[in-house]
């Protein structure tokens, strides 16, 4: 027969043990989510970088022929879609803002025909070069974030 104080210690220890186990399970889950989130991020980043690298030549022709540039912008938009779930909140916000610009208001035009926002193919050369500038800045931020995170792994 154990003394009362020993029973008390055993009860407290088992509660603490349960707490530690739950904490470890929670940490393992967080680690798994982080690994899944970051998997393929370097490949998607490279794809986005490559798509932006070939945007400049079609943009020069914007006032003559918009199709080549629009095709490139579509590729950029697809890569941004792939990246979105893998980004940290700050970069995700920037990526969403870029996606909004790349897509224009689309279906909203039907509901708001006088909306000041234009579809991408209706934008001026100045506007699309500004968008290119923002895309380039986004890649710079993503590159810095990837360099920082390589030290955290």
């Amino acid at each position: 027969m154990l003394p009362g104080w020993a029973n008390d210690i055993a009860a407290v220890s088992s509660i603490l043990g349960l707490g530690v186990t739950l904490w470890l399970l929670w940490e393992a889950r967080k680690l798994r989510t982080a690994c899944l989130r970051r998997a393929r991020l370097p490949q998607l980043y490279k794809a986005l970088k490559d798509a932006i690298a070939v945007l400049d030549d079609p943009l020069v022709q914007w006032d003559i022929d918009r199709k080549p540039a629009l095709y490139r912008f579509q590729q950029v938009s697809a890569h941004l879609d792939g990246l979105l779930p893998k980004l940290d909140p700050k970069l995700r916000e920037k990526a969403r803002a870029l996606q909004d610009q790349l897509r224009g208001h689309g279906v909203w035009r039907f509901w708001m025909p006088h909306s000041p926002r234009k579809r991408l193919d209706e934008r001026s050369a100045e506007d699309v070069w500004r968008l290119y500038c923002e895309l380039s800045a986004f890649v710079t931020s993503l590159n810095n974030s990837l360099e920082d995170s390589s030290w955290q792994q």
Partner: protein, 152 residues
């Protein structure tokens, strides 16, 4: 002094990026003439870095330099090569750098590509190659192979 100034509304970084895109547009439209040059000492001060290429051009009242820096940085898995692109305003004295800026930038990388294509006159040279006739083997220093008399 540098024309790029900071303001509370628009950070310096944004202005530099806008300038890079402006220079890229002007270069692709043939309104800026770049030439290859030796990088100033202030840019090459870190000896292990590779600065190549370095281009200069005159735009407005300023002389501008752009470059690519490849450096070996210490990463979590040992040393790794990293790429940075730079833009500087050059002073009136030779090798004088008034202001410089560096980051990994796709727009600046495209500007470097455009400057390189312009300086090596790539389109003109490719056109010449497309028009060219095949040259004889002798003219490139390759003679007709000699057959040894020992061979069966």
């Amino acid at each position: 002094m540098a024309t790029v100034t900071d303001s509370p509304d628009q950070p310096l970084q944004d202005k530099v990026r806008q300038l890079v895109v402006k220079l890229l547009r002007e270069t692709l439209n043939g309104r800026i003439e770049w030439s290859r040059a030796e990088p100033p000492k202030a840019i090459t001060r870190i000896t292990e870095d590779v600065i190549d290429p370095f281009f200069v051009a005159r735009y407005g009242d300023e002389r501008i330099g752009i470059w690519q820096r490849n450096s070996r940085d210490l990463g979590p898995e040992g040393s790794e090569w990293s790429e940075r692109h730079g833009l500087c305003l050059l002073g009136s004295a030779r090798q004088e750098v008034v202001w410089d800026y560096e980051e990994y930038s796709p727009a600046l990388k495209n500007l470097l590509k455009a400057a390189r294509n312009q300086t090596v006159r790539i389109e003109e040279r490719l056109d010449q190659l497309l028009r060219a006739e095949p040259s004889g083997l002798d003219s490139v220093g390759v003679g007709t192979p000699t057959v040894s008399s020992d061979q069966p």
